[in-house]
Structure formats: C-alpha cells, structure tokens
C-alpha cells in the first residue's frame, strides 16, 4: 500500500499548478465567457505543451500516462483552477479512439495529444437520461455505406470539435445492450448539424442532428454492435476525471471559505469563531477527505475487471455528488450574499460541482447502479 504520488506525477501536478496559478483566473474565465468565446485557445495550447493531454494516454497509445492516478492528478488541478478547456473530451472521445481505433483512426490521437484536434463524444439523446445503452439513433447499412439518423444531445464541446464519436444502433431495440456501434464522424460531413450552447457552469456543449449522414464502413470504431462495453469503460475514465475535478473544485471552495471565515467579521468577531459554523465546517472537511478517498478508490480500480471498476465508479460518483452538493451549498451559506455573486470565484465552483452531478449519472443513479452491481 502506498498513497504517495510517483515523482513524475508530482512533477506534472506541480507544473500544472504553477501554470494555472499564473495564467488562469476566475476573472479571465468570466471575461472570456462574456466575450462569447467557448474557451481560451492559448491556455489549451499551453496545457497540451505541458503534457496534460499526453498524460491522458498510455505509452502504447502515444502518451505517457493513461492510468487512473494520471487522470486524478490532472483533473484535480483542473478542478481547483476551474478550467473549462476541453481536456475531458480527450479522455472520453480520445480514449475511445485510442482504445478501439485501427492504425489509421489512431492517427487522431496524436493530434489530440498535440492539442490541435478536438474530438467529442456524442452519446446522449433526448430520452436516454443517463443510460448509455439507450440509443435510438440508427446506423443503417446502405450498400458499402452506413447512414446515421438521430439527434444527439448534451455533446460536451460538440461545437468546438472537428470529429465526433457517435453511438448509434445497428440492431436491437432502444435500450438493448447489444447492437450499439461507435462511429467517427467528421463534423463537416453532410447532414451533420451542430448547434452549440453553454452550460450553467460555463462549459460549452451542443446538440447534434444527424440527418441521413452517409459514412464509409471504415468510419466504424471497433466491432459492429459491440460498442457498449468500450463506451462504458470510456465513461468510467470520464467519471474518474470529473470526480477528481470535483475534488479539486471542493478543495478550492474550501480554501475560499476557510479564508473567508478567518477574515470576515460580524458582530465584532471573525465568523470562523462561531461554533455552529466551526462544526459544520468540520463536517464538510470530513466529507472532502471522504471524497478524496472515493476518487483514490476509483482511480486505483480503473483497470480492474468491469464489475470491480464499475462498483468503485458508482461509489465515487455517488459520494462525490453528495459531498459536492454539501460543499457547494455550505460554502455559499457560510459566505452569505457574496457567495451568491457571479463575480466571486465561489460561484463557479458551486455551479461546476452541481453540474458535475448531472454528468454521466447523478447521485441517485449511481446509488441504484451500485445496488444492482452488488446484487448481480
């Protein structure tokens, strides 16, 4: 048992921390969003240069990391700084391409690692809620071609991507596990309409309409009809990433709040002297430690067989969801009015923590899934 980071990961963490402390701030992010920019391309290039994207992939895939603890180290820092640049799609869509792609397809990974190409995962649909197996988008063979039809919702960074990894059904009914395939779809393919919007937490997202989108058979990623297992594994990596990001956001919110409790005076005393706040703060600190442990468990079991991996994924996402809500709500409450203003950084962390609960299954969803996995 060893809870220390390797030297490489420590170096990456420290470099990333310095880079973000230096270049990234709530004010800059606000200004950028106000200017209508989806994210800061310069920062993204900088992250690529630091090796942040390379750390998402194993050496065999062209990177130098790719393990659970690599995701954890990077995303904790991204979360702490409130980074909205598209690292997550590199884990999700990039991870799928790296895991399933043939040699030609895997060429994209190199560009993703270099930060010159964004690939986004298009898996959600209007009725799917959090179920990866709920796929109504169809992929029909027409001679040598495959024709996609359907609408994909909540495609994170969809309007910023050059390539989409799309889940579509080649066989079976809407919620069947079998029959789902994954396809690489360049966004400029005729029939693809991407409508971008911004989420509550500032991250860009999109709806993607697929209207008789004709692809060559070679656009398929992995085996026909067997996409679900890989999708689930990629989402487990995505869950590790956003759980670690949430942990970082909790740490940042905690920092702001402890600072505030020390500085802010009311009725003549620092409010941190009020015992009721002290005890609630203690409960919050405990939950942040619990969240860290849950992320460690998840990261450390990411390469285990499916059952064990998913049990830890569910446990982590459930605990992170509860801890995140507690931290967001308590930190706002302890701040009072200032904690509710957009111009104070806490608002970003609170929004991000809350919205992370709506990504890839919320607290309740993963609790039920945990029960089902344990019973199965």
């Amino acid at each position: 048992m060893d809870f220390n980071l390797t030297e490489e990961r420590m170096m990456l963490r420290d470099t990333l921390q310095r880079f973000l402390a230096d270049k990234y701030s709530h004010e800059n992010r606000r200004a950028m969003i106000a200017a209508g920019e989806p994210y800061d391309a310069g920062i993204y290039a900088g992250l690529a240069e630091l090796g942040v994207l390379g750390a998402m992939f194993s050496e065999g895939q062209g990177g130098f990391g790719g393990q659970g603890f690599d995701l954890m180290v990077v995303f904790e820092e991204l979360g702490r700084a409130g980074v909205i640049e598209p690292v997550l799609p590199a884990v999700l869509a990039g991870g799928l391409i790296a895991a399933l792609g043939n040699e030609r397809q895997r060429g994209l990974v190199e560009e993703i690692i270099a930060g010159t190409h964004v690939a986004a995962l298009a898996q959600g649909e209007a009725g799917s809620r959090y179920d990866l197996n709920h796929v109504e988008t169809t992929a029909a063979a027409e001679g040598d071609a495959i024709v996609l039809n359907g609408i994909k919702t909540h495609v994170l960074y969809g309007a910023e991507a050059q390539t989409l990894v799309v889940s579509a059904r080649e066989a079976g009914a809407a919620a069947d596990a079998a029959g789902i395939s994954l396809f690489l779809v360049p966004v400029n393919t005729p029939g693809v309409t991407v409508s971008g919007h911004r989420n509550m937490d500032g991250t860009p997202s999109a709806t993607v309409a697929l209207d008789d989108v004709r692809l060559a058979d070679t656009a398929r990623l992995g085996a026909a009809g067997e996409g679900l297992a890989a999708l689930e594994a990629a989402v487990a990596r995505g869950l590790t990433a956003i759980c670690a990001e949430a942990l970082g956001a909790m740490e940042a919110a905690k920092e702001l709040t402890t600072g505030y409790l020390k500085e802010r005076k009311q009725f003549g005393e620092p409010i941190g002297k009020f015992q009721a706040l002290q005890h609630r703060m203690a409960d919050m600190l405990i939950e942040v430690e619990q969240a860290r442990s849950a992320v460690i468990n998840m990261a450390g079991n990411l390469d285990q067989p499916r059952g064990r991996r998913e049990i830890h994924a569910c446990a982590a996402k459930n605990l992170i969801g509860r801890a995140g809500a507690l931290v967001a709500e308590e930190c706002i409450q302890m701040h009072g009015g200032i904690g509710m203003t957009d111009e104070y950084a806490l608002s970003h962390f609170a929004r991000r923590l809350t919205m992370i609960d709506h990504l890839f299954g919320d607290t309740d969803y993963h609790l039920e899934r945990f029960i089902a996995l344990k019973a199965g």
């Binding site: 809620r129 959090y130 919702t153 609170a350």
Partner: protein, 398 residues
Amino acid sequence: MDLNYTREEQAFRTEVRQWLKETLPHDLREKVRLGKRLAKADVELWHSLLNARGWLAPNWPRAYGGCEWNAVQRHIFEEEACLAHAPRSLPFGLSMLAPVLLAFGSEDQRQRFLPRILNGQDWWCQGYSEPGAGSDLAAVKTRAVRDGDHYVVNGQKTWTTLGQHANWIFCLVRTDPDAKKQEGISFLLIDMETPGVTVRPIVLIDGEPEVNEVFFDNVRVPAENLVGEENKGWTYAKYLLTHERTNIAGVGFSNALLTTLKHVAARVNSGGRPLAQNPHFAARIAQAEIDLMAMATTNLRVVSAAANGQAPGAESSMLKVKGTVIRQELTSLLRRAMGPDALPFQPDFLDGCSNAAALGPDHAAAAAPSYFNMRKLSIFGGSNEVQRTIITKAILGL
C-alpha cells in the same frame, strides 16, 4: 380543534380563485409556471390588475386603499395566487415601507407616497444592507449630514433587490456617528433620480442581475423625507423586520413547486419508466410532501394565532428555517429530476425572447437557475443561522 375553513373563508377562496382564473393573463401565468424571469412591465401589469380589484395591499387599512385582510385571508390569497402561478407582488413598497409609514410616518408622507405605490407611479427598493455588514443590519455606515433643510447622503447600500427598476429607495442612514451602534440611525426616503445616486447591478450565481449596489455621492435629500424622528430609525427597521413577515414559510410557493415537481416526474423518463415511479425519487418527493403537509399546519397554527391577535415570536423564525429547507429541497429535486437537461444555461429563453426555443422539456431551462437562486432564501431576511439563534434563545433564555 377544527381543521376546516369557515364558510366565509371558503367563499373568499372561491372568489379569489375565480378572479385569478379570469384576470391573470395567460402569458404571464406561463412565465411564472416555467420559472422565466419577469420584466419590469410584467410586474407593473400584475400590480395594476390587483389594484383595479382593490387587492394590491392586503394588510393596509381600508382608509388608504388596503384590504384589511386578516392573517387567514392573506394566507388563502397567497395560497391561491401561487397555485394559479400568479407573479408575486413586490413587497418593498407594499409590505415593507408602507407599514412603517402607517406606524411612524407623518400623514403628509402617507398621503404623498401610499397612493403612488398603489397606482404604480413609484417602484420602491430597500436600502438596508451595506457591504461587509451581512446579517448585522445595525452596522450602518452610510452617513446623512443635516445641511439646512436637506440631508447630504454619502455611502453605499448593497443587495438591493430589483433596485435597477426602482425610482425610490428607503434607507437606513447614520445621522449620529457618535452614538452607539443601534442608535444614531435614521430612516430616510430617497428619490433615486436625485443627482449622485448610482445603481450597479450585481449578476448572481444564476446569471441574473437580481440585486444591486446603490451608491450615494453627496446626494441632497429634503429633510421632509425623514420618517419619524431623527436617530430612531433602528426602531422602525426592527418593526419592519419583526411585524411584517407575512408568508414567511412560503407554503404557497412550496405547494406550487411540489405540483410542478410531480408534473415533471410523471413525464421524465428514467430507465424506461416515469421518474415518479423510481422508488428512490418517489421517496424523496414523498418526504418533502410529508414535511410540507406538516409545515402547512404549523403555518396555519401561527396564522390562526396571529388572527387572534397573538404576536408570533420564535414561531416566525421556525417557519423561516423550515420553509427555507423545504423550498430549497424542492428546487433541488426539480433540478435533479431534469437529469442532463438541467445542464444548459438559456438566458434568452428565460428572459422571454420570443425567438428563443428551450432545449429539453418543459421546466428544464429554469431548473438549475432556480435552484441556485433559491440558495438566497437561507441567507437573506435574517440568515437561517440568525433564526436558529433566535429560536433557541427564546426557549433557553441564555
């Protein structure tokens, strides 16, 4: 003990319900139902409709154009208005300033200001909080110095709700800097068109500029705008805070929220069945409903005691805390019910831009913003921490 309303009260309820059905414009109702943001004109329209019926000022004396409703009648009206998805009428002039003028203002002030509240000429806002003061409202730093027949005001107020629409502000100002904290404060009415008044909207966590900072830079205010006596303003402020908290439990809002939540849960798909049939989610809704059923009765017990002339003490604080907890839980459940559809931020749709279509189902657009906005409930109007201290001190006396 009798849990039923009297025949008169039932008739009143029917009358209110019928009037709402006939009078509340459909698009206004839809805005409220879907949690969209109300424009200034929306609020003014609603006030004018209420005023035309004579129902704008439930607790004012009839002599000044009010209804003189008792607590039970007010409760019935609020309950019906919420269920009908009517907008909330603005409290600042109606139930904050007016009671102070009625109790402590001059007859001149009443005659001058009260009609203008009713007919919509004035939009009042509140100048209580100051930066860094938080729940400690007596920490007033804004100075008002007498200069002939004027006061010259300098300083800053904050958290001024909807101040961007207002033309008048009632302020706590410090008129005696040497007096002890709660003393030396005066209650002053300031025309916001006076030179030196600046309003800066503050965007909140939900993306909406609901509150404002108001700056006073050598603002000259006629001395006749002083309410009551100089340096007695804290008394009036406290009167306002302790006696005019109607509907503090927000039972009507919570009932409307619960209805919306059930509506949504019956329609949203969760793993092949409506979310309402998911045992976990159903349990969370049921738990909130059971708490709300009890709180409705707790509220009626206080309302009924108030109608019998008993002044509510710690009960108000209990209703504030529990009412907040329940409303926040319901907005949290509504957000969760939306699943991934709670993610997008849709300000154009929320602002009612005619060409903005909503992403996702009914109620999705407002779910997350409302959740974030409602965090304010436990902060403003005396934070829940302050209320808890009041509750326990009332029983422990320590």
